[in-house]
């Protein structure tokens, strides 16, 4: 495993880039830090969706795992006062991963629109429970207390900022490694021709199930990070179908080109929304929706392909 990672350039540049970001982050105004945090946190979920997308599957229900992650943190905080970042992440990813594992047994048989619809249904079931049960905070949700690291409570958000960046970097590298292995290569293979994969002697269902669990765990981590960065969870901005929509939106906007793309996409989305909301409080959805259409029409392979193109042009001209 290690020598693959060492030999892989993307991994190196990812680590380097995130490192630079972490350092410069210290000098950024807090609102930029916040938007970066939110963007990165969302990026984690998008990374998982990207893995699914490469096999040709788009889930309209990943808010389920995003929400599970977020609520795992909130509930553990409320009832057991758990504030340690590692515990929180472990709980969030564990629960999300486990639920993903269970639902995976059903979902792995589904494709295209049916896959999308069934995952939507599952996520809405959770939503229906959350908004109606007072013990789960109903539509108010809960606020989440500050995060501690092995007993030490940092006074500035910068520490969490770094934590999120580390988490993002690590998961980006893991996924990169995963895509490098035979299993990873299988993602495209399955999208191309499931029949052949089966006849080569590999269970497509199993491969998809595995990817699904990965994406669920990542979405869980994403939700947990979001909860910690925001200090608040609630169903409408964590579990409702619009959240799944947003995640898919970012996935398509970022494009499947690279494991870095999701994080760029997430950050771009955060800033897009912040400014749209500031410039046109009455029409910010219009701006966001317009961008979505534009991307689908003119950049089917997402922002990453755009960056790629720019770079290629630069390269050829110089």
């Amino acid at each position: 495993m290690l020598q693959i990672l060492r030999s892989d350039k993307t991994v190196r540049w990812t680590l380097f880039g995130f490192f630079v970001l972490a350092v410069t982050g210290n000098f950024m105004p807090t609102w930029v830090q916040n938007n970066l945090m939110f963007g990165m946190a969302r990026g984690l979920a998008v990374l998982g969706l990207m893995v699914l997308w490469r096999t040709g599957l788009i889930s309209f229900g990943h808010a389920l795992y995003f929400g599970i992650g977020a609520y795992a943190v909130a509930l553990a905080d409320k009832h057991f006062g758990i504030s340690d970042i590692f515990l929180r992440l472990f709980l969030a990813m564990g629960t999300a991963g486990f639920v993903g594992l269970c639902l995976g047994f059903i979902l792995r048989k589904y494709r295209s629109i049916f896959f999308a619809m069934l995952s939507l249904a599952f996520s809405m079931v959770l939503y229906g429970v959350l908004v109606k049960v007072e013990a789960l905070g109903s539509t108010d949700g809960f606020s989440v207390s500050a995060t501690s690291i092995l007993g030490w409570v940092p006074e500035s958000k910068y520490t969490l900022f770094c934590a999120i960046i580390v988490a993002s970097a690590v998961s980006a590298c893991m996924v990169q490694y995963y895509l490098k292995t035979g299993l990873g290569a299988l993602t495209t293979a399955i999208r191309d021709n499931e029949l052949r994969v089966e006849y080569l002697g590999y269970s497509v269902a199993q491969a998809i199930h595995f990817k699904y669990v990965i994406s669920a765990a990542l979405a869980g981590a994403s939700g947990a990070m979001m909860a910690m960065a925001l200090g608040q969870v609630d169903p409408d901005s964590m579990v409702n179908w619009t959240v799944s929509g947003e995640l898919v939106f970012i996935t398509v906007m970022a494009g499947p080109g690279s494991v870095i793309a999701p994080f760029i996409g997430g950050v771009v989305f955060e800033f897009l929304r912040t400014y749209a909301f500031e410039l046109a409080p009455h029409a910010w959805q219009l701006i966001v929706g317009g961008t979505l259409l534009a991307i689908i029409f003119f950049l089917p392979m997402g922002l990453w392909s755009l960056l790629e193109r720019i770079w290629v042009r630069k390269g050829s001209s110089s």
């Binding site: 309209f60 619809m117 939507l120 959805q285 966001v288 689908i296």
Partner: protein, 298 residues
């Protein structure tokens, strides 16, 4: 007994509403293979257009029954105008794309239309109660109910019958079913598929708008009021089988009745049941209760 009647009628009312909203969605999916998230926006637009027309008529002190005319005109207008624009300008360029990607595009359209509503109609809610008030109430099962909700049921029946008749008994209906069966071949046979698509989409949008327009008098028509409808109608359509009209009818009835039972017996399950049923049906019968089950793809 009293309770049973009430639950049944509440369920029926809600089911009729759901059916009118969902049938457009299912038709569009059946023919164009598009899962149209923007359907919720048509619903909202229909409601706004109708509410606007009705309140205007009321200010002009026209007779109250004019309100009903407004409802249908508004629905038709929204269907034709928005439906045409969206199909011609955006969707027709996407039919080659992957189903889910188109669905995402319609999500974008939905976001846009939502805000355009704000820009056109403002943020203040509209109250177009005249048509509902006009019809008054009758006592049924020990409590009094509004006659309007019964006309809603009637409308649902008319729509259902209309769709069935239109698809099975008319030339256009036959064309459509041919196109559903095989797009390429029908093109080869010289059917103007793109025209069929346009007309079907307009009808679908119109039905969505009609749903909104007809319930407008019972609600405060306010911003952001198409959002919940989308997933509800998804649930209905999926339960019945995407693309199946009788399916939409059964789906609507199931969701409507179940929700009514929940509200009366255990309110906290009200939302849960709807999607639990949706998931359950998808698990047991992915193509829904009515669409024919397809062969395994692997």
């Amino acid at each position: 007994m009293q309770l049973l009647i009430t639950i049944f009628l509440d369920g029926l009312t809600y089911a009729s509403y759901l059916f009118i909203v969902s049938v457009g969605l299912t038709i569009v999916f059946g023919v164009l293979k598009i899962l149209n998230v923007a359907h919720g926006a048509f619903y909202a637009w229909g409601a706004y257009a109708a509410a606007y027309a009705i309140t205007y008529a009321a200010d002009m002190e026209y007779a109250d029954w004019i309100g009903f005319v407004c409802i249908f005109l508004a629905a038709a207008a929204v269907g034709v105008v928005l439906g045409m624009i969206i199909e011609r300008v955006i969707l027709r360029h996407m039919y080659a794309q992957d189903e889910v990607l188109i669905a995402l595009a319609t999500f974008g359209i939905f976001l846009i239309l939502e805000d355009v509503i704000l820009l056109v109609f403002g943020v203040n809610p509209y109250f177009a109660y005249q048509p509902m008030a006009l019809l008054g109430r009758i006592p049924v099962g020990g409590i009094s109910r509004d006659v309007y909700s019964f006309t809603l049921m009637a409308l649902a029946c008319i729509v259902a019958f209309g769709c069935w008749w239109g698809l099975t008994k008319t030339k256009w209906g036959k064309l459509i079913s041919v196109v559903i069966y095989d797009r390429e071949i029908s093109q080869a046979m010289g059917i103007n598929v793109s025209m069929v698509y346009l007309i079907v989409f307009v009808i679908g949008a119109g039905l969505g708008a009609l749903g909104g327009a007809y319930v407008a008098p019972t609600l405060s028509v306010a911003p952001g009021f198409g959002i919940d409808v989308i997933v509800l109608s998804f649930a209905v359509v999926v339960i019945g089988g995407m693309g199946s009209i009788p399916g939409a009818l059964i789906g609507a009835l199931m969701v409507g009745i179940l929700r009514a039972v929940a509200v009366h017996k255990m309110p906290e399950l009200e939302l849960f049941v709807v999607f639990a049923v949706m998931a359950g049906v998808l698990i047991i019968r992915p193509e829904g209760l009515f669409a024919p089950a397809k062969a395994r793809t692997i």
